[in-house]
Point group: C2
Chain length 947, copies 2
Amino acid sequence: MALQRLTLVINGVERAVVADPAQDTLADVIRRIGLTGTKIGCGTGQCGACSVILDGKVVRSCVRKIGSIAEHSDIITIEGIGTPQNLHPIQQAWITYGGVQCGFCSPGFIVSVYGLLKENPSPTREEVRDWFTKHRNACRCTGWKPLVDATLQAAAVLRGEKTMADITYKVPADGNTFGTPVPRPAALAKVTGLCDFGRDVGEKMPPGTLHLAIVQPGVNHAKIKSIDFSEAEKMLGVVKVITAKDVKGTNRIMFPVGHPRAKTDGFEHPIIADEKLFRYGDIVAVVAARTEREARAAAKAVKVELEPLPYYMTVPEALTPGAMEIHPGRPNEYLRMPLVKGEDTRDVLSKSEYVVEGSFFSGSQPHLVIEPDTVQAYVDEDGLVTVQSKTLALIMPLLTLPPGLGIEGDKLRMVENPTGASFGSSVGPATCAIAAACTIATGQPVTLTMNYEESTWWLGKRAESYSNARLGCDKDGKITGFEYELAFNKGAYSEMADLLTATGIRFPGFGYNIPNVRAFSSISYTNETYGTAYRAYGCVQGYTMSESLVDMLAAKAGIDPFEFRYKNAALPGETNINSVPYKVYPHQRLLDTLRPHYEAAKARAEAGRKEGRLTGVGITISGYNVTGGPDTIAAVALELNADGTVTHFNTWEDQGQGGDVGTLMFTHEALKPLGLTLDQIHLVQNDTKTCPHTGPAGANQQQYMAGMATINAAGQLLDAMRKDDGSYRTYEEMVAGEIPTKYVGVHDTTPMTTALDPNTGAGDPTPQYNYMAFLAEVEVDPETYKTKVNSMKMSYDIGRVMNPISVEGQAYGSLTHSIGFALNEEYTDDKDHGSLIKCGFLFANDVTDDLELFDVSKEREVAPFGSIGCCEGFQSSGHVAITNAIFNATGVRIYDMPASPEKIKAGAEALKAGKELKPDPYFLGQDLHGFLDEVAANPINTDDFTA
Amino acid sequence: MALQRLTLVINGVERAVVADPAQDTLADVIRRIGLTGTKIGCGTGQCGACSVILDGKVVRSCVRKIGSIAEHSDIITIEGIGTPQNLHPIQQAWITYGGVQCGFCSPGFIVSVYGLLKENPSPTREEVRDWFTKHRNACRCTGWKPLVDATLQAAAVLRGEKTMADITYKVPADGNTFGTPVPRPAALAKVTGLCDFGRDVGEKMPPGTLHLAIVQPGVNHAKIKSIDFSEAEKMLGVVKVITAKDVKGTNRIMFPVGHPRAKTDGFEHPIIADEKLFRYGDIVAVVAARTEREARAAAKAVKVELEPLPYYMTVPEALTPGAMEIHPGRPNEYLRMPLVKGEDTRDVLSKSEYVVEGSFFSGSQPHLVIEPDTVQAYVDEDGLVTVQSKTLALIMPLLTLPPGLGIEGDKLRMVENPTGASFGSSVGPATCAIAAACTIATGQPVTLTMNYEESTWWLGKRAESYSNARLGCDKDGKITGFEYELAFNKGAYSEMADLLTATGIRFPGFGYNIPNVRAFSSISYTNETYGTAYRAYGCVQGYTMSESLVDMLAAKAGIDPFEFRYKNAALPGETNINSVPYKVYPHQRLLDTLRPHYEAAKARAEAGRKEGRLTGVGITISGYNVTGGPDTIAAVALELNADGTVTHFNTWEDQGQGGDVGTLMFTHEALKPLGLTLDQIHLVQNDTKTCPHTGPAGANQQQYMAGMATINAAGQLLDAMRKDDGSYRTYEEMVAGEIPTKYVGVHDTTPMTTALDPNTGAGDPTPQYNYMAFLAEVEVDPETYKTKVNSMKMSYDIGRVMNPISVEGQAYGSLTHSIGFALNEEYTDDKDHGSLIKCGFLFANDVTDDLELFDVSKEREVAPFGSIGCCEGFQSSGHVAITNAIFNATGVRIYDMPASPEKIKAGAEALKAGKELKPDPYFLGQDLHGFLDEVAANPINTDDFTA
């Protein structure tokens, strides 16, 4: 290894570094001298997380080979811009105006804005977005708008027009913080580059920690004949090559598919592939070496002999009669849930005035977070196998991994690292399982940080969906009946399949009053990467079908789609498709809020079309549950400290949504009688060793569940502290009185929820829903057929808003994800689809700055201070508003998401030729009515059924 | 390895760290997360370089096991106090008021002062020193006084009594910086913790760099029978165990003893011990492993079989007839230089009115720098074996190592790391040789940071000296004759023995007019650690003898010692003992300056003694050379850059004395016609690949040599730039005119120096000297006989002062080292003497705050802008002023340095019993006159002699 000595001026002082010119990038070197605020996201210059100022210019340091950096170059990193003790206005603005969600991209953005404002102290919004686009500053959380807002606020301070105090949050004079934009406690470290994300944690572990590199053959389906690592094991720095044989337990992730109709146990997922590769991203071996580079070099030298097998990437292929079982002994379609409401839809629809039908496909949306997957594992001082990961569900590995790893159930400890977002991709335990297996196999601490491609191939995606459906209405436009088949392509592994399948018989048609429904939702193994959680898990696919059909039916009935929805929006007393009442009925109110905007947009679209432009407007309504299924339990703990402060313990995982500030604000509100200031509340979070299980940060759950549990804990603590005269005991008095100072608060939804009936789909599994209406304006380029979303507007009812900046951040981000999903984000399992750009990531100028939110929330009765979760609903059906707008603009109905220019062009050209391109119904196994007849004939005894 | 996860609040933000509770200290963890401003010096809580604020208290983080740190502890490190963009007043004061010399201790001090001023915003000088003492903040450079000054200045700013501008250097309005306290360019990085010293460099090298640990058996003299590393080589992480067999060349440091009277070639020093161990600190093997801990663990498992040999720790033992040759084939006394001036002293002294005689010993002074030895080596991108070390003599390894390493002479490249001081201990190439051999043997980059004990055992020390001498004067007190035998205990290796021996016949009696001298200086191998450079190399030992004798003679003659010196101080035309004129004659002026202070001190001492206290005053005069020997050459280069700035290239090694600011100031002055601002001068220093050889930063050399070479280079550049009209060409005009823009300036002392005659010692090897007079006041405790130095005053003539803060810093530091040497610093080769404290390090309250300087310098004619070097002379004879003061206080003459309480007590008790404890003459081989007769009979033909 020939090294190079280089003297650089970094953050104002000369630093002499010793680098490896053959391998080191500028980012590597900067990070190695301790400046780990410069983050490595994509590693290929696509994301800008590694931005630094090099001789006055913003550059992406991850693609600057150190050999290309001139001696004595001047470099500014995030650490040179400001510190917690002396924030730069950009950093303060980022904190105050919602610049920080996960915060992984924040240092790169702040550095980039620093460069921008040096060149242009008074940029316009457009110039800011142009700069972000030019410098490839990628953010997946915020929807960009808050970043533009923050930039302009900082610029105003730098120009002397505002003060730092002006852009800094102040607690209201009355001390009431609930409903105000309290900044996130974690933001300070994130904007100053001092937050250690997983890669940073791994690089800062004690010397001797082994670095892991994965062997990912990149084959869709194959039998593993042999793995030869004899050469790899001899390579420099290699300590061990770990294969399935080294996994001490069953080598299976024991994640049950917990439904009486399931035809799989769900235990098909190997920790490390043993007999077969089931999908492109599967891992057959892991090299543990002294350095990441050594591990990667050796991973390339592992030889895997494979016998290719036929593979099925789609549900129709996997369900073709005679198709081989991907997991032998488990049928490819392994779960199907029936839905029956009202009268037989065959009769209803045959009698309806208007009926539309269609078959829909939605693609495999990649999460495209900026931080790739990363995990560390070690045995802790108490002998617990400890895994630090990005997980959003700390409890899940505890429940599913011990037998596979061959350890006792209580010997696993999970910790969430500061996480560069996941939007659901970190729900599963597979990454944790790999790391845990490797630390057990080597007896050493291990760290694994995948590169962006490996991570993209490895992690699950939003499941593809296939649906065949019909919807009818009467001559007045009142919906009469709805029938559909909705099949999820769950890919190679079944993890959380029951939950996903259930969403398929809950959300299609959500928000409307539909008296008669017949449907099934099914889920199948294929050789696609496995479907996993993604914001608005499972409902996105359903709305793809139902909100398109509603639009089609309105058109057929000759009713404005807005009015059609208004007319059919559920009213008090009406029920959802699971035959239970909607808990609240805000949909007409949501539409009323959007109505003037719709009218204006419609006028603009019509005017555009009169000019020959392809302009359109689209509308949808939808909602999503709060908590995923029935019988959900969450716990938190509150402890009074000796200094009068209070510590809150929970596992409200923070994926960027603000589990920290949520905990802080709930605690502040719940303990209001104690008069604590915000800084008198300490948070201990996301470590299963020290915190009670609060449940996963998914399904909109935590705002509601952690909030309720906090109120419960606070009530216990206040009761314990309260004296007869109504004043509160001090810590000393508590101790003197031998009164406990720590209380676990619990919330359990069991009394208020019921599981879906396995024979009818009737039931009420969640205690709350949130509700949205979306309005999209688009313009399609008549030459390229590329769609531009000109604006997205959303009205919502999410109960009372606790922290507006956090809520708005979720909303803007969700709208942006919806635009991406609608237009161009799609993952397929192949070599090409490893990068942000190849997966269709949208940069600043690819999405509109005109995102408008209308909060018409009303406080809920059974909810923590009236508030419930929001984020999942925000991404529920915005994508269909866009495809509906494309239809409005072009007359082309999008049956196949994403709505690529090619598809729109083909549709438009067919229309010109007087035809409509419409897919044939998908073959999804047994047909709907045959299935329902069989269910009716052979019902499951629900007395035995509890899940 | 069981790890522990810990959440700490560090510098205002929460950081979760993963630590090894069995091994990690708080310092390890802080440093591993990138906060390497927290330095590790002693590693045992003695030095405070690792100070941090833990929950509001200043603690030494290197001795706080991480397991003892409570979860959520609040920690402030140097990085949290201020940054280059936002300095804390303490940091600014440290820069401005001389707080930074080497700067290694600066972060720890600044953190400590931060803690102090939080508790006590208005401390007195005493309270500051008490705080430093209590918190064990150790500084070896500054003599503490500037640190107290800086603390009080910062406190004034924090109290609002001064502004930051008040304590910040400003370039004078006329732009003339010469003579003003320009801050050191390197100080900014050092006070903010951003300067990477060697350990930091090693820890930040590319992954795959091997960590070295040494095997140091700790035996004084032994034959190596076998080295068994079979077990060690199998240990976790071990890559290779390197022994002498792996060294590709001769395995000898080829450092010639270049004198015609030498009886050794000087090539006895193995790179890694092969046949024998010659001293306690010798290294027999080096373990290269993946981590330092693994290397250290394996080093303990290397089994070395030794055959103990007789060993000689003193010169008399080594020279006892029949003693074995330590290096077979080379006599133990291997160099002896004669000195003959004037008449035969046997006659002169027999006729003199007063004659005193005495035998003196001075001990092995340890350098006690705070940073232990550290080195890195790798092959660079051009195939050069590159070594980064603390060296003060970059050229030395180039000259002495290639054959031993088995590489071509031009394949070695030396770089000086930012250096936590050495005061001479880093002059030799032994550490560099080890690292180079290991990178060659392993083919990998390597880093070695010794712990404090290893480093102490490994590095050379100031050589012990033994002397027998007589000095006489006439009845008027005019010195008549001087004869002496001065033998240096050079220990195991001969490195720079010729230079050291030469000092032995140059500095005894320096400053006086002594007409007749007979002397020899000799040097011997023993099994003591080897003698190496230390500030005032070689003269300290001579003054120990001569300035004691002068005092004794004054007493015998009944003349006040001050007046005696004044009377004998050389006057224009008079010669030094080498029979050449002193170049300037400032000694009476120096004494005149001190006279009123002497009178006052004498009165205080007498008053004290009248009260029964043991108070005394002592005086000495002395001086030291500028450049070590004759025919010295230095080169620097100046280059005009495209932007009109100038870059200066040199190897003015910065050991804390300010090679950076010296270069800057000379360049600014020499290029004054160009009107450059200070920040338009760039420095590229201390890398032999890019910089011309400027010579070692020793022997007061660089101020004079680099200064002269700079003037030479600047003259060439200005000549090249100057147009006919007297204005200067721009860079563009130079390029257009095809005029070179880079010029190498050289200074060569050959024309103005002559070597000492090998038969008489006559000669003039150096172009300049500096001159000092010292005044010490002491009080000896009548119970414990512990000596307290109450004040040290020094007047000096060092030519014109270029940078007063730097000069004063050297002066204060030197006085403190002299106090240590006089009273309690002593190294012996054994297990106990590895630490600062065991070696007698003085903390803040152990030395006086009353250090007073009197600069009576006069500009020198042949010198760069009149200035010459200063630092060595500052440490020349202050220690004898102290022992003379002890005599004044107690009547006890110190013949044996250091003057420990035990020795003073023994002397005092003997006096009470009417006796004088006086050592017998040391046996130092052939006696003086026998030797001189032999020299006279067999003179060396000086026509053949050039060095």
